[in-house]
Structure formats: C-alpha cells, structure tokens
Symmetry: C2
Subunit: 210 residues, 2 copies
C-alpha cells in the first residue's frame, strides 16, 4: 500500500515524466532498466530518481540489475491514483482553450473532460475536439450534474474572476488558471496558475545575462 499523503509534492510532479519514460522502454521491449537510464530519459539525476522511488515506496528495484519496469509502472500509477476518474470543464474556448481541449496531454491519466464553455455566441454550438461548445449559462448546472472537480480557465482577463466565482459557487474546488490575473477564491479552493508569458520572460532574462 502506497501512502500518497507523505510523498512530497515535488516528487509527485515528476511521476508523469517517469511514467512516460517507463512506457517508452516497455514498448521498446525492455523488462528492466537501471536508475541511470530511467533518470536520463526523464531529465533528472539518477540520485534523484532513486530518492523519489524511495519516497514513493516503489520498491521495484533489484540491486545489480535495475528496476522491473512493469512493477514500477504499477506502483507509480497508484501514486497518481489514476484508477479513480476525475472530471473537468474548460471555460473559454479561444485559441488556448481549443488547444487544451485538443491536447493529448489533457486526455492522459484518469481525467475526463465533460464540457467546453464560452460567452461568445459565435463560438457556442461549435464542435471542438469532438465536443459541442456550450454557453456559460449552463456552466453551473453541468458542474453540479456531473460532479465536476476541476475547472480549467482560459478566458479573457476581464471575465476570469467572474467565471471563477461561478465554478466555485457550483462546487469546484480545483482551478487550473491560464489567465494572467490573481484570482480571489476561498482558501478551501486550490488554484494552480500557469502564466505562459512568465516562462518566456524567464528565458529572456537568461538570454540577456549570458
């Protein structure tokens, strides 16, 4: 039994990368791989890889010959708890929202999209990634009806806070925010903000200081 509560967040964040590396090796026909190989394919040091496995409690390793890949994959899958499905909605179906809805990365690992929403009448009714875009009016109802856990915000800056209020009011407790604003939400709601511009600015900073 894996105790998820005690695994550091920084470790959990690397698990999807580890799973990808393991998957690649398995489909290549390998059954075992040492930490050095798994680490290199995941973009971390071998010490960190082994440390993470230790923290997770994934003892798929065999001293002298490396990790048994199928066992390891099962243990890591359990950390993310991918057996229990989690539902999400995407709010705002402009360029970015469409990209997210179509992304394979948003289909992986036990998550299911149950609705796409937009304010713009020109977008409502359109088909995006196999789903029909609904109007924001229906957002709260769909969240309650399906028991949606996560809302992904990709709206304009001006409507982000309003939409956050709506989804929180309807019971959402996790928000993935792609809009460059600081959302005001109750402390019981977890917000992860991804500001794509910040990443670019960090690289520009790095480029200037070479």
């Amino acid at each position: 039994m894996v105790n998820e509560r005690l695994v550091p967040l920084a470790t959990v964040e690397r698990v999807p990368q580890y799973l990808r590396a393991i998957g690649g090796l398995i489909s290549h026909g390998d059954e075992h791989a040492p930490s050095a190989v798994l680490a290199e394919r995941s973009g971390v040091s071998s010490a960190q890889f082994r440390k993470d496995m230790s923290l997770i409690g994934a003892h798929g390793g065999v001293r002298g010959s490396g990790y048994e890949l199928v066992t390891l994959r099962a243990a890591l899958g359990e950390v993310l708890g991918s057996r229990e499905r989690v539902k999400y909605v995407i709010v705002g179906v402009g360029n970015l929202g469409s990209a997210l809805a179509s992304s394979s990365a948003f289909r992986r690992g036990g998550v299911d999209v149950v609705g796409l929403f937009d304010t713009d009448p020109a977008r409502v009714g359109a088909q995006v990634a196999g789903l029909t875009v609904l109007h924001d009016d229906q957002l709260a109802d769909v969240i309650r009806e399906h028991g949606v856990s996560i809302a992904v915000l990709a709206t304009s800056e001006s409507s982000a806070q309003l939409m956050a209020d709506v989804v929180v009011g309807a019971g959402v407790r996790e928000i993935l925010n792609f809009v460059p604003v600081v959302l005001q939400v109750p402390s019981s709601v977890e917000v992860r903000s991804v500001d794509l511009g910040v990443e670019l600015q960090m690289l520009a900073f790095h480029a200037r200081n070479r």
Copy 2:
C-alpha cells in the same frame, strides 16, 4: 545598480507578477502602496514581498507609508532587463502555437517574435497574429539573420527533437518547450519545459486526496 546575478531565480520568477500588480495600482491613480496590498494583489505573503524587494535591492519603500510605485516599477523592470530586446521564434503553429502567437502574454516585457514556422504545407502562408507562417526550411536562416535567442517549440511529439536540433544548430541557446518529450540538447542550451498535462494531473491528484 542592481546586481541581477545574485537575485534568486525564485524571486525573479515573481517579478512579472509584481510588475502587473504595480501597474494596476498606478493606472488606478495610486502613488504609494504598502507591502500588504502589493503582496495581496500578487498572490504572495507580505513577508515574501518585502524579502524579495530586499533581495533585488529595490529600496522604494518608505517606512510608515509603503512603497513609491513609480520608483519600484523602474527597479523591478531593471531586474528583468527589459530595455534590451530579445527575439524569439515559434515552431509549430497548430492550436497551441497559434494561441501563443496571439497571446498578449507573449508580447510583454521586452521580447519580440520574428517568425512562425510549420512543416504542414496547409498552414504555410497563413496569417496568424499578423505574421505569415513560414516553412521549417527557412527556420535556420531566419534565426541566423535576426540573431534569434529563443525558440518556442509547439510541434508534434514526433518532430520536436528534430526541430530542437535545427534551432540549436542555428545558434539558439534558450528553448521553451511545450511538447511532452525530454529534449536532448548540449548542456550550454537552457530548456524550460511546460507540460500542460502535468498541471492538470497535479490538480486531479489533489482532488482525489481531499
């Protein structure tokens, strides 16, 4: 004189948020604000805000009445070095690449896009965010010609490594990678990878463990 080298990376990453908060207050007509207000608008604690200002060496604060906003903005702008422009290209103009090219976040702070590139003949020649999409063939030439520092990768998984090789070969030393693969590049090249799926999985993890 601000010594950028000594400012911790974690602090630098928050500077764009601070600048946004300051800009909002200035356009609202304020001239001063205490750390508590600036921190709340930036989504951090007041202790962290003051600590960051201290680390940056931005002494715009006046004990008793808060920070002088215009002075502070100038000092923070200097940290990011936004006076020196940095050029970038976007490789891969699918849903995500188009979203990035159109994003206001990609226009801020001293960075200029000089080209959009794709392999798909159906996309080459199209207008996206005011630029004409060029074929990958021209990628290396444009990078050399304009002295491009940063490449933003938003290609398919299968061509990401190839495109990374091309841009590195042409002299790019910073890559912002949105493709869920681990890129193999010389150690002199800085790669920042943003895996949008990982963010969603982290929230799903959180939702399951409530």
